[in-house]
């Protein structure tokens, strides 16, 4: 099967949902594409330019397509701790953590951030493509004294990312913390987190305030070189950091240990969905593992589904790949047989019938010098 595709135009796709920032994207000349049921900007002026703006200055992304659940009630903390892999008990009010929602086979339904926004109140920010499935799964397992709300439709959000973000705001919360503030007459929640590897925040607001907030930030950030950024740059930025993308690097057939994200799984918790299988996986050893790799020479960039070889043996498949704008080099991540997952090992990526040399690397693929 050839992995290349003929030129095809996203604008001919069927109707998709629009975020509250849709009109702003179109006004600023963004190229809109369907993504997870939404019409999202893939780029404004160019992926590489937007990528560099985030690495060097600051960029702003629309993340209104992501889902937002509010879970509250006297039983919320105890129950969430059985639904998610990381330990809710580690969270103080105002603190968040990266975590997983697993199915009964310990496969990944979604990766998400959970914030404790009150003693018995939590905000979950989930992937756009998973909103319905996550909500249904949580609803099916809901226990007494737990209220489950999906506020996605009434809220928007942006990610503001880059080393100069702290010049744009004062009194930012600490890393992984969230605060509610009033800004320019708008009630917003600001979380110090992101998906780019740079300092940054994610801001959530009422959908009606979305355009105002977006335009205000772009105006205030002008002198810092702020740029509106699309999903294209979001993908290259996250891949350089080896942050996984659900649907590509994560799936219901993969568990967090295979994905190299065991740090976000607290196996000392007495009980959570998937725990027993993860313990068994640890005991019996992994079959496959997600590894980052870097191409060895100039050549075509790696892409999802390309085969990976070592000494002529097929050992796995690429799940994410691109030309890294920071390194100007082909990089990617692949699931390979665990026995081959050694940092520094020479592998080959098959691209259109030809094998190109690559090396298994340590995370992250890009480090700030």
């Amino acid at each position: 099967m050839r992995s290349t595709r003929p030129l095809a135009w996203a604008v001919n796709e069927p109707a998709q949902k629009k975020t509250p920032l849709y009109d702003e994207h179109v006004k600023r000349g963004a190229k809109m594409v369907p993504f997870a049921g939404w019409l999202m900007p893939v780029q404004y002026t160019g992926i590489v330019e937007e990528h560099q703006a985030v690495r060097n200055n600051v960029g702003i992304f629309d993340i209104s397509h992501m889902g937002q659940f509010v879970i509250s009630g006297s039983g919320a903390a105890t129950w969430l701790n059985t639904m998610l892999t990381n330990s809710i008990e580690k969270l103080d009010v105002g603190q968040g953590q990266y975590t997983f929602l697993l199915n009964d086979a310990a496969g990944i339904i979604d990766d998400l951030i959970v914030y404790r926004i009150g003693d018995t109140k939590f905000l979950l920010v989930v992937n756009a493509a998973c909103v319905e499935e996550d909500f249904a799964w949580l609803g099916r397992h809901r226990s007494d004294n737990v209220n489950l709300g999906d506020r996605s439709a009434h809220f928007g959000g942006v990610a503001i990312q880059g080393p100069r973000v702290a010049e744009l705001f004062v009194n930012l919360p600490a890393r992984n913390h969230i605060v509610d503030v009033e800004m320019e007459g708008m009630s917003v929640s600001i979380a110090r987190t992101g998906y780019t590897g740079e300092d940054g925040i994610e801001v959530f607001f009422f959908a009606k305030d979305a355009a105002n907030f977006w335009n205000t930030v772009l105006e205030k950030g002008k002198d810092l070189g702020i740029k509106p950024c699309g999903l294209g740059a979001r993908d290259t930025l996250r891949l350089e950091m080896c942050y996984p993308l659900n649907g590509s690097d994560l799936s219901p057939k993969r568990n967090p240990i295979e994905a190299g994200l065991g740090f976000f799984v607290d196996l000392t918790k007495p009980n959570f969905i998937g725990r027993d299988i993860l313990l068994k996986t640890k005991e019996n050893g992994l079959r496959e593992k997600l590894v980052p790799f870097k191409m060895q020479g100039k050549g075509p960039p790696p892409r999802p589904h390309y085969s990976v070889f070592e000494n002529g043996e097929r050992i796995g498949e690429v799940t994410s790949g691109t030309q890294s704008p920071s390194l100007n080099w082909g990089v990617g991540m692949a699931y390979i047989k665990a026995s081959h997952a050694r940092i520094g090992a020479k592998i080959e990526i098959e691209i259109r019938g030809q094998k190109f040399p690559a090396t298994i690397e340590k995370k992250p693929l890009y480090k700030k010098s």
Partner: protein
């Protein structure tokens, strides 16, 4: 979007410039803008024969790989080696230094199967 009047076009966004019994081929301004930053070009092999609409080159952007098709039946007689060192030429000069290959064509009559600038403009919604 720039669609020069003196070129012919394909549905798949290649442009064609006739040079006697040869055609010079690249991708249009519209195509390069949709593809975004081109980071790699796989050129066709010299002397390779191709049928009309056969994929013979690949242009890769940060986001994806896209096949480039032979607009007409012919033989590859020139390839743009400059693209190997500077694939961004396709973004900067799609109709000039960003050309991809030259085909010696078997049958010049087949040129009538290609679109003129007006038809291509209509296809991409440029009026």
């Amino acid at each position: 979007m720039n669609v020069p009047d003196d070129l012919l076009y394909t549905e798949s966004h290649e442009w064609i410039k006739r040079e006697g019994n040869k055609i010079r081929v690249g991708i249009t301004d519209h195509a390069q803008s949709e593809l975004t930053d081109v980071v790699f070009v796989e050129l066709p092999k010299m002397d390779r024969q191709a049928n009309a609409k056969e994929a013979i080159a690949v242009v890769e952007s940060v986001k994806a790989a896209s096949d480039i098709y032979a607009p007409l039946k012919g033989t590859v007689v020139e390839v743009n080696k400059a693209l190997e060192a500077d694939p961004g030429l396709i973004n900067r000069e799609p109709f000039g230094q960003g050309w991809i290959f030259v085909l010696k064509i078997d049958n010049a009559d087949a040129l009538k199967n290609l679109k003129d600038a007006a038809a291509y403009r209509k296809q991409i919604g440029g009026g």
